[in-house]
Amino acid sequence: MAKKVTLLVGTKKGLYILRGDAGRGSWACEGPEFAPAEIHHAAYDPRDGSMFAAVNQTWGGSRIEVSRDMGKTWKTTKNPAFPEGGDRTFSKTWHIEPGHSKTPNVVWAGTEPAALFKSEDRGETWSIVKSLDDQPSRAKWVPGFGGMGLHSIAIDATDPKKMQVGISVGGVYRTEDGGVTWVQDNKVNGAPSERPDVFYCIHKLLAHPEESGLRFMRVHEEVYWRDPGETTWQFSTKGLPTNFGFAAAMHPRDRSTAYVIPLDGMKRTASPFGIGVYRTTDKGKTWDRLDKGLPEGAPMESVREGMHNDRLDPMGLYFGTANGDVWASKNEGESWSRVAQYLPYVTSVHAATIE
C-alpha cells in the first residue's frame, strides 16, 4: 500500500488532524479535538500506530492523551507525577517522543517543570527519570520566556541507550547508558562566545533517524551541527538572516541537510525578511532560502515544535504559523503551498508517515 502522510497540528485551541491523499496534494482537516486546551505537541508512533497529544489545560490540569485508532478516539493516560515531598507539580507536557524500535514499549515525555518522564507501557503510565532529576546542576536551571521545560529528546539512531535531552534554560544532558547516568553536553566549537554550563537556552535538539551520533541543534542565538564521533557542537549559524529562531528539522536520509525558520530575536517574527525556510546541505556551513510559494515579506512566526518532515522520497516538509496557517512542501522545501488556514495559533506540527 502506498504510504500517506497525516499531519498532527497542535494549536492553542485544540488538535487538528490533516489527512493527506496519496499524492500529498489534498488534505482533509478534522478537529478540533480537546479544545479549548492548548496542544503543545502531538506525535505519531510508527512502531504501533499510536498517537499522543500533550493536552495542556487549566481546567482539570494538563494531561497526555493517547489514541490507538489513528485519532478516532482518545484515552487519558496516567499523569506524570513529581516526587512527593517536593514543591513541584506537573504543569505541562512540552514534548512526547516515541522510543527506539529496539525498545518497543518505551515512550518519553518532557515536561514543565523541566523533567524527563519515561513510559514502559506504550504511554499508559509515566515515571520520572530520577537520575536526571537528581543532577546537582538542576538548581541552576531557569525559565525561558515560555517557561522552564524539557522539550528535546534526541534518541540515537542505532543505540537507544544513547540519548540527549535539551532544556530551556538548562542546556543539554547526555546519557550513554539508557539514562542511568548523565553528563552535561554543552561544549561548543567556533561560537563567538561560550556558555559551557546550564546557560544554553536550547530551542530544539534533533537526532538523525538513520546516522548514529549525528545531531542538529537550534539554540536561542545559534545553530549547531555535530557529526558522529564529535564531542563538541560546531557553530553553524553564519549565512542565516538572524541568529534567532525555534523551528528545526533534519533530512531523514541526507546526512548533511537540515532546515530552520529564522525569526527576529526581538519581534519574534520573520520580519523584515519575511517567512522563509532556510536549508543547509553542507552541515551548516552555508544556508539557502526556500520561499517559493510563501507570501512575500510576511512577518509570520513558527515556534519550537512548528516544523516537521515526513519520511517519503522526496521528503515532505511542513510548518505551522502563529496566524493559523499550515504550509507544506512535497519537494524538500523547493516550493510551498498552504494546506490549512484560519486555524488557531499553531503550536506544533508533526508529520506521521503511515504505511
Binding site: 489545560q57 482539570g60 490540569g61 487519558t76 499523569n79 507539580t89
Partner: protein, 87 residues
Amino acid sequence: MLLHGAYRGFAGGARDVTLDAATIGEALEGLVRAHPSLAERLRDEHGKLRPHLALFINQDDARLLGWEDAPLHDGDIVHVIPAVSGG
C-alpha cells in the same frame, strides 16, 4: 453533585452523582469513587485541589464555607464548575 462544563467530559459525560457525605471533602471522595477518571482532574499528584476549580454548595461558594471541610446537609447540591478567570 452536579458536574458542569469540562468536568462532565472528564467524567465520561456524566451529569450528576447522588451520594451521602458530611463534607465537601467526603463528597469529592465519593465522586471519584463513582468516576475514577476525575481523580487527576480534581487534584494534582500531591492531593491538592487544582486551581480553576470552583465548588458551590447550592448558591454559596465553598471557599467561604471551609472549602473541603465545608459541611453538607440533606438535599444540598454541590456544583463542580470549571472556574472562569482572566479578563
